[in-house]
Amino acid sequence: MNNQSGVLAKRSLALLLVVAVAVTAVIGWWPGKNTVVQPPEEIEDYLFWQAKDLTDFKLIGANSKTLSLNDLKGKWSFIFFGYTHCPDVCPLTMGVLGQAFRLLEKDPAASQEIQGIFISVDPKRDTPELLKEYVAYFNSKFTGVTGDTAQLDALARQMSALYTIHPREPEKTGDNYLVSHNSTVFLVDPQGRLYGRFPPPQAPQEIAEIFIKIRMFYNERSKKRWFFF
């Protein structure tokens, strides 16, 4: 008698579990169909249509410390390609990004997850040591790196961040040549995927506000993904 009721209880428990799982799946699936993929309108223009996996790269920072794809994982990375002999666009953009990072300090959770990376496409003049001092001026959360042409291209190509080193003007002496570079601030997500971008001209408030929304959208979406297995 006791034994029989025990089996029955086990069976009904198992049945209840199956029903619960089924109901949960249906509830999860039902609204999910319509809501999962579409980002809010105000961040749409800043996101890539599809997050793009990056392949590994290796760049060099101060004290020969390398930066590779692994260093981007677990954080949101704001990446800018420039050079220090650039008087106008580079300090302007880095100043804007530094200010955006300070605004983001109001959101400690978001602020903890961000890093800024300045990649110099002018390794001939920009040593890693010089870059360290350069980026620290704008924000303590910035890292400065560079590399040889092959190392730079390995990442720049994946982001379509084209750059050109122009030959020095003939009448000029010394090391005064110009470099063209993409002045977009690229956003890489904590999985190391190219996720979004802030095209020029950027503003601190814009970057901070949009990033908060992007992060929220990303977190919501990953939660749903997990729910769906």
Binding site: C86, P87, S180
Partner: protein, 165 residues
């Protein structure tokens, strides 16, 4: 607070310099400033507004500063999202008009600073015009944020036009 005060003083100084105007040249300079950058950079940018109050075009041919080895007239140009810089031989200010040098566009490129410059420092410059006129101005080193924010508000609307250039 100290920062704001400093900025305010810098701005005030900047506006004192704006009244600089030389004899024989019907030119007025407004709000000259230098974008602050890390002390180890070799190249900085200066911005200002040049107003031609006369009836003839004025041509700026050369700029010099005792604080730098070289000063050039430059323009940042965006092709899509790619920033290029071009060197201009001269800059024409049409009669009864202004030319504005501002971040992301026209600027004086200041090359090889003789000593590191910091926020609040003053940079003397001389603008030389084709007809022989000279104007001395003093630019203040400051962060781009104040001007930058205003600019972006304007640029948000005109941004798309910029891309067509």
């Amino acid at each position: 607070m100290v920062f704001f005060l400093k900025t305010f003083i810098s701005l005030a100084l900047g506006f004192v310099a704006l009244s600089a105007s030389a004899d024989g040249v019907n030119i007025q300079i407004q709000g000259p400033w230098v974008l602050a950058a890390p002390p180890n950079v070799k190249v900085l940018a200066a911005y200002l507004e040049i107003k031609n109050n006369g009836d003839k075009p004025q041509i700026l041919t050369n700029v010099s500063s005792p604080a730098f080895e070289q000063v050039g007239i430059h323009r940042s140009v965006m092709h899509g999202n790619t920033a290029h810089m071009e060197h201009l031989k001269e800059l024409t200010i049409p009669p009864r008009a202004s030319v504005v040098l501002k971040p992301g566009g026209l600027h004086f490129m200041l090359t090889d600073a003789k000593k590191p410059l910091h926020i609040g420092d003053q940079v003397p410059m001389t603008l030389n015009f084709k007809d022989g006129g000279k104007i001395a101005v003093t630019a203040i080193v400051r962060s781009g944020q104040i001007e930058g924010m205003e600019d972006h508000q304007h640029m948000d609307h005109s941004g798309h036009e910029n891309h067509k250039h």
